[in-house]
Symmetry: C2
Subunit: 370 residues, 2 copies
């Protein structure tokens, strides 16, 4: 092309470059659009405190972002919201799939809003990245609550690690509280360590069960029953009522096997039906009793302080581990070292020392090169 | 003094410094003594494999040392011993103080040696640093076993952290196995996380209990009952027999509440008396049945591989944390940051980020200065 052009007469006049307008209409539009979707930290905080749900959702989206600029902004918003947060009741609800968590939360949430409460429903579900939101993903499963202007439902954040998902949910609690929600429900499903994570961010932990045939207690995951402040047998309706009451008795006996809780609270058992709504308000009455007791003996506040500290230490620990295992030298060595340890070719402690020496030495020489 | 001396005549003759002998008899003695107490790595390995108890004890002392040269030497001895280790049955025994652990181990150990077994008894007791050896510290509590040439009793290593004490015990197992001990008993007392540590280094975990008045199951520490492969009610003698049998029934019912174990083993309950020796040999028969089952279904070997890997990862994690929390910058900041987090002045995650930035930046600039 250029060759062909160069054959033309040198006198040919070029059309020239069009003059750039000082104020580009497109740029203005882009900036305006950018401003619109990127409210300032102040805008976000003011909006949240004004209980603007759109602003709240935007701030949560920042918290859930993987972009470091967004996260820095989210941190500032959260820290500004902290003085206005913390005044809610945080309730964790767990139960295996099929136990009826969504219908229970729907019925339970409606009772709470009818009592004048403002209810936020969040979820911790590390599997949602793979399953594209197995819990709370489909808001239609809480039809009534979705339409309720005093309820806010947010599906689980996604993330590769439970730690990441948990952090996002924990920070979302702060934002929801600052936005005036006084009851936060956090749903989780029995996958891996997610119950422990949820237990570490709520005041009250509720285990939802259904009655089955035979031994009611088999198959409960390690430690879950010990965490529960209440065990509620759902689907106690129709032919199921007797079975549910039997299950309640079994669980009640089992709960007595565990050591007393630091809170001074004795875990309760009850039955309910998310269809007939029988027993649902009892759950809230139980939680109210729990609140009176634990605020009186101060364990409510002590536990929250401990939880805050737990999340700080846990975050540090997670980060230190990530930094170690993500180092390329360690990634190259880890599998062969693990095998050598499994086959008793090297002691686990000598192997650890070997990897640690590598990690700190490499970090060292990388820095010297810079 | 020096002033008075300077008043004396300048002609006063000083006695002079005595000539140093080229070969000092004292130095020779010290070096010979030093050599005597510091056998070479080869000497130690050969001695251990020759089942020399004095050499075994010396090697264990190296493992327990805080001196890094000793530890490097210990690592080499352990790695050389590894091919000859691993062939024992490792039994963990736990129970609160007063349950009769020492007398049980004495009676149990005597049965094992009478069956031709070589028994090593170790302990994990992180409290021993403070209490100067609360368990196994006093060998006279196992009078008979101490005199038995087929038994070796070693009190708990001391150390500031459970991780340190556990590492030392885990490595002592390897040395004892290489020295021909085919049954390793590890005693621990219910303090903090020590049961978890012991559970992670044994094949079979035994919970020792006594019958009490009232509810037998109250007061069992979280998770301990879930770890047990057998619950043995001790002191089932005299007036206690009926109560012990009732306790056995209660525990048996409680054990069924827990999910099935990966090993395929159903935990057992039994009663025994360390005085009448009734039921003690039953414990060994149970362990033999456990061995047959778990070796047949391979879970015995799988568990050992998992345990090795656990100790490697655990050691790495502990070290990373120690490195973090021992940094002086972090030590200066930690308490105030914890307080700010507890008082909701900063989010736990923002606080963690702040400390992590400090840690990596300081490590960075320290290295640049060097």
């Amino acid at each position: 092309m250029s060759n062909k052009k160069s054959l033309r007469s040198a006198l040919t006049e070029k059309p020239g470059v069009p003059t750039i307008e000082i104020v580009s209409a497109i740029a203005v539009g882009t900036i305006q659009h950018f401003r619109k979707i990127q409210p300032s930290i102040n805008d976000l905080v003011v909006g949240i405190l004004a209980r603007n749900i759109t602003t709240l959702s935007r701030a949560i989206t920042l918290v859930e972002s993987t972009n470091s600029i967004h996260l820095a902004k989210a941190n500032e918003v959260i820290n500004a919201c902290l003085p206005y947060a913390g005044k809610s009741m945080r309730i964790g609800i767990t139960g295996v799939p099929g136990v009826g968590k969504s219908t229970f939360i729907e019925a339970f949430g409606k009772i709470l809003t009818s009592l004048g409460k403002k209810v936020a429903v969040l979820a911790v579900d590390p599997s949602s990245t793979i399953s594209h939101g197995s819990i709370l993903g489909d808001k239609t499963r809480m039809e009534e609550l979705v339409k309720d202007k005093n309820a806010y439902i947010r599906p689980s954040a996604s993330g590769e690690t439970l730690g990441g998902v948990a952090r996002k949910t924990r920070e979302t609690i702060t934002l929801c509280e600052a936005a005036g929600f006084d009851t936060i429900i956090i749903e989780t499903v029995g996958v891996g360590q997610s119950e422990t994570a949820v237990h570490s961010m709520v005041d009250f932990f509720l285990l939802l069960k259904i009655s089955g045939a035979g031994d009611e207690l088999q198959g409960i995951k390690r430690g879950i029953m010990e965490m529960a402040d209440a065990i509620v047998i759902n689907k106690a309706d129709g032919d199921n009522i007797k079975k549910a009451q039997f299950a309640k008795m079994e669980f009640n006996r089992a709960l007595h096997l565990f050591p007393a809780k630091n809170s001074g609270w004795t875990p309760t058992t009850s039955t309910c039906s998310s269809i007939t709504h029988e027993g649902i308000s009892t759950v809230w009455e139980t939680i109210e009793q729990f609140l009176i007791l634990t605020k009186e003996n101060n364990s409510f506040y002590t536990k929250r302080k401990e939880q805050n500290q737990y999340w700080m230490l846990e975050t540090i620990n997670e980060y230190l581990k990530t930094s170690f295992y993500n180092q390329s030298e360690i990634q190259n060595l880890l599998e062969s070292t693990k095998k050598a340890v499994q086959n008793d070719e090297i002691s686990p402690f000598a192997a650890a020392q070997l990897l640690l020496d590598k990690y700190f030495h490499t970090a060292d020489s990388n820095k010297k090169e810079n």
